[in-house]
Point group: C2
Chain length 453, copies 2
């Protein structure tokens, strides 16, 4: 009898609640603090930017938070996502390890991002918001919010870093297909944008500038809110639907992971798969959780734990997290979603409490792993997800060397259909690895805000 490749879950078994790791961590997740006063900031302080439904989740220590039925109803368009056994990759590696992956690329926008975008759109709609404004770099979050906002009748405006706006027209076209407006940042629509354009009309923009524009617009209009696609507690919370589903599917597969792997940028796709397993780890289960980041932006492997701004523009509250300093400018790489100076405070806490480990890889070795994966399993991974795959292959080869039949589960967070330029550069030998600039990191860390908390 042939063994199964995919482990599907029927819609009626889709999780009914998100899991909140904050309920089980050995210590509290430090709250955001005001950069001027050093005072903790609560939901009311952030109310101009986010709806209360989201802010309550941000501060919650409840273990389970119900997924509203309208959100589950949209999830049904692609969820439960498949759990797949990578049998061909196992055979190619000649490893005794079992390799499973949770495939989030089946979502309409092609990644895990809609899991939170749909929830955020729902809470905004429920509180009478008419318009969502956000920023996007590579475009994954922008297209996810465009998709989600449209379903709830919200106007969505995405400020896209100008250089990406020009280089990634297909991502922009996807946002427009979902009915959103995509504006190159810096733009003349905001004071922040106009200030940049006055001195540099040809500015390529940056994620920091785009955040400033989006936040300015959200704060200035009553009917408008802001939405963020990673880092914050509520985003990690929404992504846990991935891990809760995976647990049910691994049960169907009659397997249990010894190792859980995800790539980390802001931290949310890793959190989504790994937090439920960290709960089991705290309950005594032997499981290693590994976050994989790029060598060029080694937040967990080289960044200290500190209070820092969430943005390069230094407009946000301070968050306690692993950080390279908000001044740190990672070199341009193809995994745009992993080029973030900070890390989700909850993931940072998980690191502090020994619930996870972290490692870093260069991008060319990640692309080599992604190509091997595509040739065995068919799916062309997003550049971000390729980091997880590189770690999976290394662990599977270790299992081979040690003769251990361990079970590995990873999050294939998205497909690479909108990132084929990166593959072209890789095949053309144009992709390079930059040695890490330790001096730049030290200089950046010296500018960390000095706040007594």
């Amino acid at each position: 009898m042939t063994e199964s490749t995919k482990y599907l879950l029927s819609e009626d078994r889709m999780p009914k609640a998100w899991y909140n790791l904050a309920a089980d961590l050995p210590g509290p997740v430090p709250p955001p603090v005001h950069p001027g006063t050093g005072q903790p900031m609560g939901p009311e302080d952030l109310a101009p930017l986010f709806p209360m439904g989201v802010l309550e989740q941000e501060a919650s220590t409840e273990r389970w938070i119900d997924i509203p039925e309208p959100v589950r109803d949209v999830y049904r368009l692609w969820r439960p996502s498949p759990l797949v056994r990578a049998r061909r990759l196992e055979a190619a590696l000649d490893t005794p390890a079992k390799i499973f992956f949770k495939y989030e690329g089946v979502s309409p926008a092609g990644s895990h991002k809609p899991n939170s975008a749909v929830a955020q759109a729902f809470y905004n709609k429920q509180e009478g918001v008419k318009r969502l404004v956000t920023e996007t770099g590579a475009g994954q979050w922008g297209s996810s919010l465009a998709f989600a906002g449209n379903l709830f009748g919200l106007t969505v405006e995405v400020y896209m870093v100008r250089i990406s706006f020009n280089q990634k027209p297909y991502r922009r076209a996807l946002m427009e297909t979902y009915g959103a407006t995509c504006i190159p940042s810096p733009s003349p629509n905001t004071a922040a944008g106009r200030a940049i354009l006055e001195t540099n009309p040809d500015s390529n923009g940056s994620l920091g500038i785009a955040i400033s524009e989006a936040v300015e617009l959200a704060a200035s209009r009553d009917d408008t809110k802001y939405a963020l696609g990673s880092v914050l507690n509520h985003v990690c919370l929404h992504q846990t639907v991935i891990g809760e589903e995976a647990m049910l599917q691994m049960e169907i597969a009659d397997a249990d992971p010894d190792i859980v792997i995800g790539c980390v940028g802001g931290g949310s796709n890793f959190a989504g798969l790994a937090f439920p397993y960290m709960r089991e780890k705290m309950n005594g289960k032997a499981v290693r959780c590994i976050g994989v980041e790029p060598t060029s932006c080694p937040t967990l492997t080289k960044g200290p734990m500190a209070y820092d701004f969430g943005d390069t523009g230094k407009l946000t509250p301070l968050m306690k997290m692993h950080t390279l300093g908000s001044n740190f400018m990672p070199p341009g790489t193809h995994a745009g979603g992993l080029r973030y100076h900070g890390m989700a405070p909850m993931v940072s806490q998980a690191m502090e409490h020994g619930l996870m480990e972290a490692r870093a890889y260069q991008q060319t070795e990640c692309f080599a792993a992604a190509v091997q994966f595509a040739r065995e399993e068919g799916i062309v991974p997003a550049p971000e997800s390729s980091h997880a795959i590189k770690a999976v292959i290394d662990e599977a080869l270790r299992c081979k060397a040690e003769g251990k039949a361990e079970t590995i589960l990873f999050n294939l967070s998205g497909h690479g259909h909108f990132d084929m330029q990166a593959y072209m550069d890789y095949f053309a030998g144009k992709m390079t690895d930059t040695p890490f600039d330790d001096a730049a990191l030290q200089a950046s860390l010296e500018t960390l805000p000095k706040v007594a908390v």
Copy 2:
């Protein structure tokens, strides 16, 4: 209780046999004939180009043909594909009709094409072939054969029409990711290519030239065969896994289609979904099968039934089919996969026997339908599939006008991730509809080969 959105089928229920409509048609499917002699051609005549496993299927009148286990094993990477109820589209149209779609875009290459590519790669491998050569226009077939060939250890060379090679670098990158070589056609690798390049070094190429190059290479080397992605009987056969799965899933959904819809270019995705339902129609079931083509290339709605060449280069055997004449040059549209002058002989026979109907739409109305679909259901359709969607919406609106709760099933044959330029042109108002040139059609039909058969 919430009703289901997706109807999944477990892998152990994946069909074990393809369905061959030739077994049930009221008359025989006319064989291909030699253009010089007018004599029927059998498997042995085509053996230089195709493996015998495939040629036996081409001429078979067996009702069921077993799907080899290694083919089913590759199918498991994405099959059974989901059957989805388009509840949001139904609500947006305010129609009493139930709309279901079979989603073939979940395959690694993003369309239904791998259903046949995997089978063809298997039979070639089994007969000791080392290398497959094919042509591709938009790139769907080329990337599917690249994927399939790699899994069976075959070298794959794809001759891609030069203008597409230059305009669609991402499709080319996908083929290279799967390990295939993609060569712009005309190329200096063949006599056919060199002849063109001598007179026109900057030739944009054409599908006809690319076919000539691929066929020349396959015929000239013992270890090399050719592979075709649509039109032929064996390709339609392989695609019937779509319809056989859909039948099982519609049963799970407790629904039965009154109307089955697919877009038609060469005819294979429509055949794949509709042929099993035509069998039921011949057994007395009331079901309408509708093939939808572009107004710019109206093979079924304006082309007569005649013996004609399969290619513009007039190199292939003659096939009896609906045709616009192999000299007919449809205007450039974004649904490249539907720009074919002929039609699968089996689909043409189904038309002759009254088993199906056909209709044609302009591309802008199809893109409007595709955008509406994407905003309700999330999935961005391939330009080809948008033709099916336009017909579905029209039928659903007819049901509304007539107050009839009919059940509509269509084939969403692929996603549009590699076709976003078409959406950009649509949003920019750059997409136009060309009035059909009846005079050009008449001129083309006058050059149909005069063969007494």
